[in-house]
Amino acid sequence: MLGRTIRALDAQRYGMDVAGQNIANVNTPGYVRRSAYLVEQPPHDLRGAGGGVDVTAVLSSRAPLVEGRLRYEQPAASRDGAIADQLEVLEAGLGQAGSSLDAALAAFYNTYATLAQSPTSSPARQQVVVQAQSLTRAFNDMAARFENQRRNADAGIRADVTQLNALAGQLANINREIAQTDPNHAQGLYDQQALVVKSMTTLVDLNVITRDDGVVDISIGNGRALVIGDTVYDVRVSSDSSGYASLVTDGAAVTTDVTGEIGGGHIGGLLDVRDSLLPNYSSRLDQLAYSVATDVNALTTTGYDLSGNAGVAFFDPPAAVPGAARLLQLNSAVAADNRLVVTSSTTAAGNNDIAIAIGRLQDQAMTGSAAKPVEGWSDLVYGIATDSAGAKQSRDAHEQVAHQLNNLWDQISGVSIDEEAAMLMRFQSAYEANARFFQAVDETLALLMRLGS
């Protein structure tokens, strides 16, 4: 009886110990609540009431279904979050309506229209030159902002890949330890494993396969191995001709570019911004700059300057649409001599028909576009704003789902201090009862000893 009672005392003390462990880790990320698994022990012989109790295992309240669902939601939330964050920065650089590129465009056309009032006026001509330089600077600056944003996204991708590889290394180490540890004593390793996998899902969408022994294998993209058991297949970064990062994995025999295969997670969002959204915005900005310059040049080259000489291109003619916004420049000869500003389709100095025509360009659809110049900018801002708002909405929706799933995970796996307090009281009471029983047995044995003496 004494032996049984001692085991019972041990079991209750162990239960208190588990509760203490739970309380100690109430704030530990990824910690899954434990509980002692008590099993009645059978009697040793027919006359015995029973063998008491023993702790046969420590159970963790895991929620594999919720964790699997989180692995799906988390990359989507992170992807949209990355897009929203990047576009929000870009939006701030677009400037306020009426004081950004739209204002520079309007000021340029209106100044040219104003020159029509006094085509021979040197100050009015100089004003056209000044406004044109402001316009080219506005295009150059905006193109630079777009390019800088791409570089920022690229830097983010590189940092994320470094973090992904570090996490993959941690996971491989955890896998190795799990493979070498008794499953009954590997609960802490499983917690760490789940936490690392969860962190990885914020970076990229993963394919996760859990083996029977608890080791997990991770692949990305179209089944490209990242962690297989305790082996890591690092994602490497190689720079393309423009200096942007391409992501490659080294397989058994081939090296594969997986950049296009990654769609989710923070990396997927940054890749989308860098390779899809920003190039599209830049292309539209380039088209706008190209059309503006081409349409103005088409008029000035058919006219005459103030000296009666054949008109020159007002802007340096853009060679092609790509890069037009970044390279747009006022013709340096015009910048140096405002007499070269063309206002007339004849050699008459006071003729202003070209100046009027250039002023009216702001009311006409541009070459190669159905939009007027300011509409072109407005459409671009609208596109960026819509993409940004869409990403924010989608991020919020995914985050809401992820938050609910995290709450659900907490409900199943989290630690409740009240609950642990109750467990403490429960085991403490049981311990006290067993101790009392021990005392009773002890007193009974003492009585027997006295009878015999």
Binding site: L94, A97, A106, T114, G359, A385, S388, N407, D418, L424
Partner: protein, 297 residues
């Protein structure tokens, strides 16, 4: 449902963040007076605001052009009034010197008077605005007529009358064809005609005087027609100005709707979010104050 400590804190922090975000947004709207902080807060509104600002800029340019055109038209109107007065004076002077009863001295004085009128007419036709001749057509840097000794040049400008846009689809003339005004389809311009008339008056040449009077009469008609046209242009400029002012008011009103914060609504939201913020803070601060741990002995 198990309620665990971490969920309580996570939910509390989330509620605080949401309330703080709403509070900050309402505060920003009140302090800045602007409804839209980033284009994504209202993509359509942001795009519309760009177009409205562009319209406003265009309307301001039209207003400036209308003012400049109005000034030039006023200048041309004033010059034409003087031309008409000078031509009337030439008619009166010629008629007063006509007839056999007039003395030679009277005729000579009238002839001199006509030459003075011719000089004044030369000044009128060579009127400039900021260094540009307004009666030379598009040849703004060339005087319409010049005088070398007693000889007058032919019309040196061209026949292109220049315009500026003063509203969408509306333009006003800002330079005029001085050749058409002073010569029209005549064989000589009015300045040469007045020179011949002066000679005829001095000589008592009745045929020459009649020819001169006819030339003055035709020039008079051309000048009054031109002035009537300028009058029309001035009315159109005034109409365009009124239209621009009306359009501008509409654009500003639309811009205000798009961009300006509704301060009353923002203030209500500020108060509402302040309450929610304080409630969220209070709620979280109460969390965990009571625990079963307190009852453990």
């Amino acid at each position: 449902m198990r309620v665990v400590t971490n969920s309580i804190y996570a939910d509390g922090i989330r509620a605080i963040q949401k309330a703080a975000e709403a509070f900050a947004d309402a505060q920003r709207q009140i302090s800045s007076g602007r409804r839209i902080s980033l284009p994504s807060s209202d993509p359509l509104g942001s795009a519309s605001a760009i177009l409205e600002h562009s319209s406003l800029s265009r309307l301001d340019a039209f207003a400036g052009a209308a003012d400049a055109a109005s000034y030039k038209l006023g200048l041309a109107d004033s010059a034409l009034s003087d031309i008409i007065n000078q031509l009337s004076a030439a008619q009166t002077t010629t008629l007063s010197a006509r007839g056999s009863a007039q003395t030679q001295a009277h005729r000579d004085a009238a002839a001199q008077q006509l030459l003075a009128i011719r000089h004044a007419l030369l000044g009128d036709i060579n009127t400039q605005f900021q260094g540009a001749y307004i009666f030379s057509g598009a040849e703004a840097d060339v005087p319409p007529f010049t005088q070398t000794g007693t000889t007058f040049s032919a019309y040196q400008g061209d026949h292109i009358e220049t315009h500026v846009d003063i509203a969408n689809g509306t333009s006003a003339t800002i330079s005029y064809d001085g050749g058409d005004l002073y010569q029209g389809s005549d064989s000589q311009h009015i300045l040469d005609a007045l020179g011949a008339l002066s000679t005829a008056v001095a000589a008592g040449d009745d045929t020459g005087i009649q020819a001169g009077l006819d030339a003055i009469s035709r020039a008079f008609d051309r000048a009054t027609n031109a002035q009537a046209k300028i009058g029309n242009d001035l009315r159109r400029v005034d109409d365009a100005r009124l239209r621009t002012i009306t359009d501008r008011t509409g654009v500003i009103s639309r811009l205000s709707t798009i961009e300006d914060a509704d301060l009353a609504e923002a203030a209500a939201k500020l108060a509402q979010s302040d309450t929610a913020y304080k409630a969220a803070l209070q709620s979280l601060s109460l969390t965990g104050r009571v625990s079963l741990m307190d009852y453990l002995k």
